[in-house]
Symmetry: D4
Subunit: 211 residues, 8 copies
Amino acid sequence: MRVRLDHDRPRRIGQPEAILCEGKALADLDAILGALQGRPTLLTRLAPERHAALAAPPKDYDPASRTAIVNGCLPARTGRVRVVTAGTGDLPVALEALRTLRFGGLSPDLIADIGVAGLWRLEEQIESIRDSDAVVVVAGMDGALVSVIGGLVGVPVIGVPTSVGYGAAEGGRTALNAMLASCAQGVLVCNIDNGFGAASAVLRILEARAR
Amino acid sequence: MRVRLDHDRPRRIGQPEAILCEGKALADLDAILGALQGRPTLLTRLAPERHAALAAPPKDYDPASRTAIVNGCLPARTGRVRVVTAGTGDLPVALEALRTLRFGGLSPDLIADIGVAGLWRLEEQIESIRDSDAVVVVAGMDGALVSVIGGLVGVPVIGVPTSVGYGAAEGGRTALNAMLASCAQGVLVCNIDNGFGAASAVLRILEARAR
Amino acid sequence: MRVRLDHDRPRRIGQPEAILCEGKALADLDAILGALQGRPTLLTRLAPERHAALAAPPKDYDPASRTAIVNGCLPARTGRVRVVTAGTGDLPVALEALRTLRFGGLSPDLIADIGVAGLWRLEEQIESIRDSDAVVVVAGMDGALVSVIGGLVGVPVIGVPTSVGYGAAEGGRTALNAMLASCAQGVLVCNIDNGFGAASAVLRILEARAR
Amino acid sequence: MRVRLDHDRPRRIGQPEAILCEGKALADLDAILGALQGRPTLLTRLAPERHAALAAPPKDYDPASRTAIVNGCLPARTGRVRVVTAGTGDLPVALEALRTLRFGGLSPDLIADIGVAGLWRLEEQIESIRDSDAVVVVAGMDGALVSVIGGLVGVPVIGVPTSVGYGAAEGGRTALNAMLASCAQGVLVCNIDNGFGAASAVLRILEARAR
Amino acid sequence: MRVRLDHDRPRRIGQPEAILCEGKALADLDAILGALQGRPTLLTRLAPERHAALAAPPKDYDPASRTAIVNGCLPARTGRVRVVTAGTGDLPVALEALRTLRFGGLSPDLIADIGVAGLWRLEEQIESIRDSDAVVVVAGMDGALVSVIGGLVGVPVIGVPTSVGYGAAEGGRTALNAMLASCAQGVLVCNIDNGFGAASAVLRILEARAR
Amino acid sequence: MRVRLDHDRPRRIGQPEAILCEGKALADLDAILGALQGRPTLLTRLAPERHAALAAPPKDYDPASRTAIVNGCLPARTGRVRVVTAGTGDLPVALEALRTLRFGGLSPDLIADIGVAGLWRLEEQIESIRDSDAVVVVAGMDGALVSVIGGLVGVPVIGVPTSVGYGAAEGGRTALNAMLASCAQGVLVCNIDNGFGAASAVLRILEARAR
Amino acid sequence: MRVRLDHDRPRRIGQPEAILCEGKALADLDAILGALQGRPTLLTRLAPERHAALAAPPKDYDPASRTAIVNGCLPARTGRVRVVTAGTGDLPVALEALRTLRFGGLSPDLIADIGVAGLWRLEEQIESIRDSDAVVVVAGMDGALVSVIGGLVGVPVIGVPTSVGYGAAEGGRTALNAMLASCAQGVLVCNIDNGFGAASAVLRILEARAR
Amino acid sequence: MRVRLDHDRPRRIGQPEAILCEGKALADLDAILGALQGRPTLLTRLAPERHAALAAPPKDYDPASRTAIVNGCLPARTGRVRVVTAGTGDLPVALEALRTLRFGGLSPDLIADIGVAGLWRLEEQIESIRDSDAVVVVAGMDGALVSVIGGLVGVPVIGVPTSVGYGAAEGGRTALNAMLASCAQGVLVCNIDNGFGAASAVLRILEARAR
C-alpha cells in the first residue's frame, strides 16, 4: 500500500486533508483521487498540464490558483475575511488563499494591489480591512505591507510572503524574514507562497470561535 | 526629541506599544518610562542588571521572563489559552508569552516539557490543549511539537521557535523553518524566541472575537 | 585512462562500488559498464531517458527509483528492515533505498504515508517498526517523523531528508537540520534524497553483526 | 612602514580619509593620529574605553556615536539633510551619520522614532522630509520605513539597515535585503550600521551639485 | 478589481510607476496597459516572447534591455550621467539603466568594459567619469570596479551588482556584498541586476537638484 | 509543574533520557536532579562552573567531557567500539562520546590524532578500526577522515563533525556537509559536536543486535 | 563602443585575456572574435550550440571541455603538471584545466578517478604526483582528495572544487569550504568548476620560475 | 595516547607540522611541546595569555602575529616574497604570514596599507611587487586589492581574505568570495585570516622550484 489517507482529520481538526500535488507522481495522484470515497477534498499546486494528464481530471479546476475541488465544498460558515495583495505578481498566491477559504465555506474578499509604495491605495481600503475577522496579507519583495497593516488594525493579520522579486528578494526569504521581524506586534506568518496555509489558519480561528 | 511614543496604538489595534529594552540605551529607556503618563505598558527583554540600573526600576519585574509591567495590566478578558513547551530550555520564552497574556488580561496555563521524544506526555495533555481558544507552542531544536499538535487539534496553533540547541539547530532557524514547512496545515509562526509576539497574536484573535 | 573502478571495494567494505549516474557523460557510463567484468553493480540516479540512451541499457531497470542492477544482486542475507515515508512525495527516495537493500540481499518492507500530521497511521505501524533490525525514515518538509519514531523505538533509526516541500523547506535542508537537531537521541542522518546511502548504512550494520 | 595614509583623497573625492578604529591595534591608531599633520579627520567606531586608552585621546569625542573629530570640521556648506530613524535602537547609527554630516560642514536634522507601526508619526513629519536635499533613513528589523518614505517623497533616499532586532532580523541582513528589494523605486542602500557611509554619500551628492 | 495603478506617483516623487513585467500574468499586463490612459510609462524585464504575446505589444520595445516605453518619454532634463560596466556580460543591466535614464529625459553615456583586471582602460576614461553628475557602475563577479572608481572620483557612485559569474559569485551576492563593504567611502548600492533602480536613483538626485 | 521527565524512555528505546544542561536554568537542573528517583542518568554539556553551582553537584563529574553520571552506569554489555579523532582539538567531543558509551555499559577505545594530513598514522590503526562493531569518527575542518575510513572498513561509521577550525570551517558546518556528501558510501552523521548522539546511536546498534 | 579588449595583458602578466563565453550575447562574442587581430586567444564555457551559432565558429573547438582556441597556442614551455580528478563527474572541469595548460604551451597529464573512497588508486599514482612542478586536484562532494594529496606531496597543490554532488554538496560550496579549511597546510583554492583559473595559476608559477 | 605528532611530514612535504593552538587545551599543548624532541616547530594562533600559561612558554614568541617558534627556524632559502595589505586592520594576518615565511628560511618584505581606495599607493609599489617570486595579498572588506594586483603582475598571487569589516563583510566571507570570483585570472585563495596557509603555499612553490 503506497497511499494512506488521513480520513480521520476532519474529526480531529475540523478540516480535511488537502492534497499537495506538486512533487507527487501522476499515478499516485490518481490513486489518491480513487481513494477519496466522496469526501470533499482540495487539491493544491496542480499545474494545468498535470491536471489534464490525470486519469479523471476534476471538473472544478481553477488554473490561476492551480487548485481543484473534488466532491464539493465544506458547509458554509460565517466570517468576514479579506485577502490583500501588495502587487499584481502576488495574485496567484492570493487566489490560492481565496479558493481555500471558499472551499472552507467562506465568502472572502480580494483587495488587490495596495503596496506601500503608493500608500493612498491602502488608506482607501483600511476601514474594510479593519472590519474583518481576519486578514491575509500577501506580499513579496520587502513584505512591508504586513508591518503597515499590522500597525493600523487590531484583527488577526496573517502574512504570506511570496517569491515575487529577484536578487536580494531571495526567492521570498526576505519578505518572510521581514514579516517575522516586523515592527508591528502580533502579526503571524506562513511559509513562502503558502496561500493555502494562511487560509487554513483562518479556518482554525473561525472554527475555534464557532464552538 | 529622541523618543516618540505611539500613544494612539490602543485605539487602532487594541493593545499598547510594548517596549523592547534590548538594544536601547539606558538613558533612552529612562526617557521612555518618564513619558508613559500612567499608561499600562509592558517592557520585554529587560535583563536583570539593566532593570536594576534604571533611574526608577519598575516594581513589577520578573527576571525569569525578563519582563516588567508598568502602570498595571489591561482589563481582564475571557479566553482559554495554553502555552506549551517542548523542553525545559524553552521556558524563558514561554514565560514571556505567559506574562504578555497576563498583561493583556488573560489567565493562561503553562503545559511544560511535552516534547515528542516522549509522546505519552503530550497525549496526557491533548484534551486540555484541544479545549483552548488558542495554543502557543514553544519549541527549539527540530520544532516537531508544532507539527504533532497541529495534526491533533483544530484550534489556532501559534509556533514560537526558540534558539535552544546547537550546531544544526542554527540558533533557532531550523525550528523556525520546520514550523513554516510543517506537514500540519494552518499552523502559524512567530519570530525566534518571540514569546511576546505570539501572545500579542492571541490577543488579536480574542479581540476580533469579542467585537 | 579516464575511468578507474574500485574493484577492490567488496573485499574492504563488503559492498561493491555503486555508480552515481547523474553528472556523468553517457560515454563515460558506457565505458564503466564495459569495464564491470561480470561484477554485480548498482546504478543510481539513472534517468529513464539516459538509461534508454546507453549503448547497452541494463535490463533490470526501475524508473520509479531510477536504479539499474547489472550482473544480479549480492547473496541473500537475513535482517528485518523497514523503510517508512512521511508522505507520497517521499516515495522515489524510499524506493531507491528499497532497491539498494534488495540489491544487497535483503527483503525490506515499505511502510508508506505515516506522517505525523495524522499520528494514528504511525501508531498502527509502530510495533512492526519496533521489531526491526534497522529502520530508514524518509521525510521532507519538517522531517518530524524521525523525531517521533526515534522516541518510540530503540532500534537504529536512519533519517533521510528529502527535497519535498517549498519555500522554508529549502530543498531539504530544513528536514536535514531538523533530523540532525532532533530531540530524539541517537538518530543518524544521510544526505538529502540519499536513499542509497541509508540502505548502504543498513548493510554496514548487518555486515558487522554477521561476522 | 606600517601606516600609509591617503593624504591625496580630498583632492580626488572632496572628502578626507576617515579612520575606522574598530579592528585596528591601539599602537596603530596612535601612529595614525601622529601622522595626520593637522588635517581635519573623522574617527569612527571608536569605543569609549579605546578612546581613553589612546596616547593622546582626541578632545572632540562623542561616545553616543563613537566618533572623534580631530583638527576640526570641513568648511561649512549648504544643504538640507534629514536623518530619520524607525526606532530608539537605531539612534547610535543615526548619530554616526549626523556627526559625519556635521564634520562635512552641514547642519542636519534628526527625526527620530517614526517607524511604520505608528504611521501617524511619519505623516506628521513628511513635509519636512520632502523638503530635503537628501534623506538618510535608519531602520532595523523589517526596514519597512525606507519603502514607505521612498513612496512618499522624490528626493534621494539612502537607507541604512541596522543590526537592531533578533532572530529573523539576522543581524541586519533582513533590513538590508528588504531595502534592496524595496517596492519603492530608486532608493539606495549602505552597509549595515554604516551611518558614516550614508553621510559620506550625501556629501558626494551635495559636492557634485556645488560644482 | 485586480489591478490598481498608482497614478498619483509623479506628483509625489516626480517619476511615474514603472511596470515590472516578470512574474505578472499576460492577462494582467494587458489590463495594466489598458489602464494607462496616455500616461508615459516604462515597462521593465519584458522578455521578447512575452512582449510579442501581449494583446497590443508596445512599439517602442528594446529586446537587449528588455524594456518598452509606452506613451513617450518624460520631458528632457539636464544632467551628465555615465553608466560604466566592468565586462561584456554586464551589458544587459547597463542597457536597462540607460533606457530608464532616457525615459527620464536624460542623454546618458555608456562606458563599457573597463574592469579592473586591465586598469589602463579605466584610467583612459576617468576624467570623463569624474566630470559627471552621477555615475552608475555595473559589475558582477568581485564588483571591484565600484571600489576603484569610488576612490578616484567625488561624484555620487551608484553600484549595481550583476548576476554575472558562477560558483563563489553566488548569483550576484558576492558583488553586492563587496560593494556594500567597499573600502571606498560613500558609494551606494542597488539590488542585483537592478539597472532600473540605479537610474531611478539618479533621477531623484537630479530632481532634488533642479528644485 | 515546570519539569516533566520521560521516565518511560528506557522501556521504549533501551536508554534513559539524558539531560542536556546547556541552556537550562540552574534551578531547573536542581529540580530535574531532585526528580530522578535513583534512576541512572547522564548529564551532558555541564560546564565546570555550572556543575559547582548546583545544589547537590553530582560526584561523578568529568570536566574534560563536561559530563556527569548520576546513580551509576547502565549494566555492562559487549561490543568493540572505537572512537577516533582527526586532531587534538576534537578531543572534548570524543570524550563526550566515550563517557556516554561507558555510561551505556561499554568499554570503548580512543584512537586520537590520526587526521589524513599524515596518513601513516591512520594506516597504523586501520586493523583495529576494521575489527570493531562500530566506529565513531570525530573530525572538524574538512571532515575528510570520515571519507577515508569509510572507504577502508565495512563496519558502521558514524561521523561527528566538530566546530574545530575557523573561517571556511563555518563552525563545523563544512565538516558536517563534507561528511553528508562523502564519497564513501553508507557513512552516517550526527549533529555538530554531538558526541553524545553518536554514542547513543552505537547503543541502538548494539541493542538491536543483542535481541 | 561596447567591447574593449585588454590587448596589453600579455605584456603585464604573461598571459592573454581569455573570453568567458557564458553570459555574453552571441553578437558580443562575434564582435570580440572580430577584434582579436590574430592574437592567440582561449574561449571558455562555450557550449556546443552556442559555438555552432557564432558567425565564424572557431575550428579548434573541444566540446568536452567547452573550450575553443583561436589563432593557435602560446609558445611551448617546460614544466611537469598533473591534473587529477576524484571521480568521473569531475572530468569536464579537469579537461578545461588541461586545455588551458596546453594553450599555455605545456603538456600536462591527466590522472583520473583516484578519489579517497578507494585509496589504493591514489597510492598507485602518488610518485607521479610528487614528481610534478604543480598539481591541480579537481574534486566535488567532500573535496577530501585535496587534503590527502596535500599531506603526501610538497609541490604546489591547487584545489578546484566542482559542483558534482547533490544536497549537502551545495553546488560545490562544500568541496570549496572543505578545501579552504583543509587540515593539509599550504594548499590553495580556485572558484568552483574553475579549471581555467587553476591552469592560469600554474602558468603564473612556471612563468615566475622561468625568469 | 592522546597526542600523535606527524614527525614524518618534513620528509614528505618539505615542511614540518605546525601547531594550531586555538581550540586545543593547555594540557594538550604542553604535551605537544614536550614531544617535539628538538624539531623546529611553528606555533600559530597562540594568544598572549595562553602563551604565558604554558608549562614552558617558548621564548621566541611574537604577540602581534600570535606565533611562537620553537627549536629555531628552517635553513635559509632564496626567494623574493612580498606580503601586501589593504589596510591597517589586516596587519595581524600579514604578520602571521611574514613570521611563517621567516620560519621557513625566507626574508620577506611587508608592503602595508595600499588598498584600492587610494590607488596611487599601490602604483608606487607595483614594480617591487612585480619583481617577486610570489606575492601574498591580505585584504578584508571587498578584497578588491587581489583583483587589481592580479591584473598588474604575472607572478603567483595568493589572496588571504581577512575578517576585517562588519555587516555585509560577513566575517571575511565577502572578501573570500570576491577573491574566488575575481576578474583577474589565475589568482589563488586561502582560508579567511589564514596567513600561515598562504606562507606555507609560498614555501611549496619555492620548494618545487629548488629541486
